[in-house]
């Protein structure tokens, strides 16, 4: 068909039989686990199955590519945080802390101690909020939505606290180079304590009774998707999945930034490396984060919460790693002496964990695909950026 100089080919309608679907002709069937699928999120896994056994998996990403790294180049130093925090909406504070520290390194600005403490409170709040969704969605892929609902109730209290601070519940833009953007008022601290109280006194006992040591949950997840310590290092995994394989890696402990050097907490590790271990790592990290928030609120110093940040920065570059909810997040920031970043490169942990999937998912059952996928605790916004 020719129209306006273009030629179109109209596909003829034909009866499609089972053979065309690969049902009868070949033993191996390709399933598209994704893009529009109840559990995949905006990405696609091409899954080849032989009966009920997965032969090969090929991830197909790029459905939520927003060019965040490029967009940062059109912003000023402070404006850029709105792009940085959108790497993943679940924990936006970790990324803002990393970017701000990198910008401060180039500028040579020292932030006040109070700002450091508030950054820790917010970053740990963000980690709890993110881990709660991780727990809920892990149980959710096995057909039980109770865990997610309970987690969302606990999450709601933290979002209330963030709203008191910044006026926004999710994209708060509250951490800027030079400190924090809003004054941490008494009301905010009060709400944060309330949220931590709810988490420790109501959510944790209730959840522990139902979904930790749940026999059916263990039946599904113990021994599934095992990654050994050596394999985890070789694949370059990050964050909770890495710690679940027995590697004690935590930027907060290894290279303390912000005020993390002042607090006592332990790095949660498990040696099994299976789905259940990754789930338990999330569960125990929530409790550690709650302890850090309590310590930070007790020791919150007086003084300024923000210092003046210059409009133009000297040429230079900085690389900063922060322990984000999903693992080590790296920022390589370059300045050419202008009013905004010349180049920002973000090293995302979910992207590293994603490429463990083809290795782990060889020879598992089809029903294990969503379980392993959700246990790797990835964020789609963070994979594509």
């Amino acid at each position: 068909m020719n129209q306006m100089g273009y030629s179109f080919t109209i596909e003829s309608r034909k009866e499609v039989s089972g053979e065309d679907l690969g049902l009868l002709k070949e033993k191996i069937l390709q399933l598209n686990w994704g893009v529009q699928h109840p559990a995949s999120g905006p990405m696609r896994l091409k899954v080849w199955i032989d009966g009920d056994v997965v032969v090969k998996v090929d991830p197909d990403i790029g459905y939520v590519l927003r060019l965040l790294e490029k967009l940062v180049e059109y912003r000023t130093w402070i404006n850029a945080i709105v792009n940085v925090e959108r790497a993943c909406f679940m924990d936006d504070f970790g990324t803002m802390v990393g970017y701000s520290i990198a910008a401060e390194k180039i500028a040579g600005v020292e932030v006040p101690k109070k700002a450091d403490y508030v950054r820790v409170i917010l970053a740990e709040g963000g980690r709890i909020v993110s881990h709660l969704i991780g727990l809920g969605s892990f149980v959710g892929v096995m057909g039980v939505h109770t865990a997610m609902q309970w987690a969302l109730i606990a999450r709601e209290k933290f979002l209330d606290a963030f709203e008191t601070l910044s006026g926004q519940r999710i994209a708060t833009s509250s951490i800027v180079p030079g400190g924090v953007r809003y004054e941490p008022t008494g009301k905010f601290v009060e709400k944060m304590v309330e949220a931590v109280d709810f988490l420790e006194k109501e959510f944790i006992p209730r959840y522990e009774e139902a979904f930790i040591d749940n026999p059916t949950l263990k039946l599904r997840s113990v021994g599934v998707g095992v990654v050994t310590k050596e394999k985890a290092v070789e694949l370059g995994m990050a964050g909770p999945p890495l710690r679940a394989s027995g590697v004690e890696s935590d930027i907060r402990k290894d290279y303390p930034y912000a005020a993390y050097g002042d607090f006592k907490f332990k790095v949660v590790t498990k040696s099994e490396g299976d789905c259940y271990a990754r789930y338990l790592v999330l569960w125990e990290e929530i409790q550690e984060s709650a302890k850090i928030i309590r310590q930070a609120i007790e020791g919150l110093p007086e003084g300024d919460y923000r210092v003046k940040f210059p409009v133009k920065l000297p040429p230079g570059e900085a690389y900063v790693n922060v322990e984000w909810a999903r693992g080590a997040f790296g920022f390589h920031l370059v300045s050419d002496g202008g009013t905004g970043p010349y180049r920002l490169r973000m090293r995302a942990p979910s992207f590293c964990n994603l490429w463990a999937i083809p290795e782990i998912m060889k020879g598992v059952k089809l029903a294990d695909v969503p379980v392993i996928f959700s246990s790797l605790y990835m964020c789609h916004g963070d994979i594509d950026r």
């Binding site: 049902l23 059916t216 029903a367």
Partner: protein, 314 residues
């Protein structure tokens, strides 16, 4: 009452319709309270008309048949499934005289129809010509065949105990001791009933996160409504059968028989809802192992136990 009035109104069609809307509503409310939510609230008093609105929305929808589908089977299967499971309910005695038909082979016919359901659901998956539907259909056949053997064995053990296949006389012969002796059979029957009707935690054929919606993936609108109502009726029929066989059917003090019957069925439903809210789904190979290695031998042992009871005690 004449039989056709019963078939149309009381234990029949309209009663069914109202029961399902209420069961559906109850499921959402119970799940919501486990989730610490409110659940349906705005439509009608306490949201009681929400499910009605949902079902009528489905009825208004366009009748879409996808291009690849086998048109005849695709449009016919939901109705066949609906009619087949509706037949089940004609054999259920809701009270002493309230049943549509009563024969001397009630239990046998009931179980035979339950056994003939898997091909219907498999055709539903096959006729849609979609990969997910096809896998869902295969899973239904696998699962139901493994579940039906313990179902038959445990139901027949009750029939052996009472010495009859007629539902009404079964209920009349039941007593406190029959309840006690049939408790193992009751548990096996309930587990098998959950497997056969693929209720959570055995909802493997419809596992949303794996195969989208199993054999119902391609169905929409009216067809979907009829097919899912057929599945709900199957659950209701099996729970009613459990009440008749093991819980003394319509027997009970003070209240009329129908109320007792529905209360007992509601208790079984509550058990199923709580199980759904707290137990993750298991895997196909785990389910097959459980059915063939645990449930079927237990059902056989139970049958031996009932036969011995019959030989020496009664």
């Amino acid at each position: 009452m004449e039989a056709w009035i019963k078939a149309l109104f009381f234990p029949g069609f309209f009663f069914l319709l109202i029961t399902f809307l209420m069961v559906f509503y109850l499921e959402r409310k119970v799940l919501a309270s486990v989730h610490l939510r409110i659940g349906p609230f705005y439509v009608g008093k306490w949201g009681i008309l929400q499910t009605t609105a949902d079902v009528f929305k489905l009825f208004q929808k366009e009748f879409v048949i996808q291009r690849r589908a086998n048109k005849l089977l695709y449009s016919l299967i939901p109705f066949v499934a609906f009619v087949m499971v509706s037949i089940l309910l004609t054999f259920i005695p809701f009270s002493k005289n309230l049943y549509v038909v009563s024969t001397s082979f009630d239990l046998l016919i009931f179980l035979a129809i339950i056994t003939s359901m898997p091909p219907i659901f498999f055709y539903a998956g096959w006729a849609s010509k979609s990969k997910y539907s096809f896998i869902g259909g295969l899973r239904v056949v696998n699962q139901m065949i493994s579940g039906e053997i313990p179902l038959w064995l445990s139901a027949l053990s009750a029939a052996i105990f009472y010495g009859t296949l007629n539902h009404v006389s079964m209920v009349e012969r039941s007593s406190f001791w029959s309840f006690i002796f049939l408790i193992p059979a009751f548990f096996i029957f309930m587990t098998a009933a959950l497997i056969v009707t693929d209720r959570p935690p055995f909802d493997i054929p419809e596992a949303e996160q794996e195969v989208v919606y199993g054999f119902m993936t391609e169905f929409g609108g009216f067809n979907y409504a009829i097919l899912s109502v057929a599945k709900l009726i199957e659950v209701f029929a099996l729970f009613s059968l459990a009440t008749v066989l093991f819980l003394g059917g319509f027997k009970g003090p003070f209240l009329p028989g129908v109320v007792w019957f529905l209360l007992k069925v509601a208790a079984l439903y509550l058990f199923a809802f709580i199980l759904r809210a707290s137990t993750p789904r298991i895997r196909m190979d785990q389910l097959l192992g459980f059915c063939w290695k645990v449930l079927t031998p237990l059902a056989l042992l139970n049958l031996v136990f009932v036969i011995l009871l019959k030989m020496f005690l009664f």
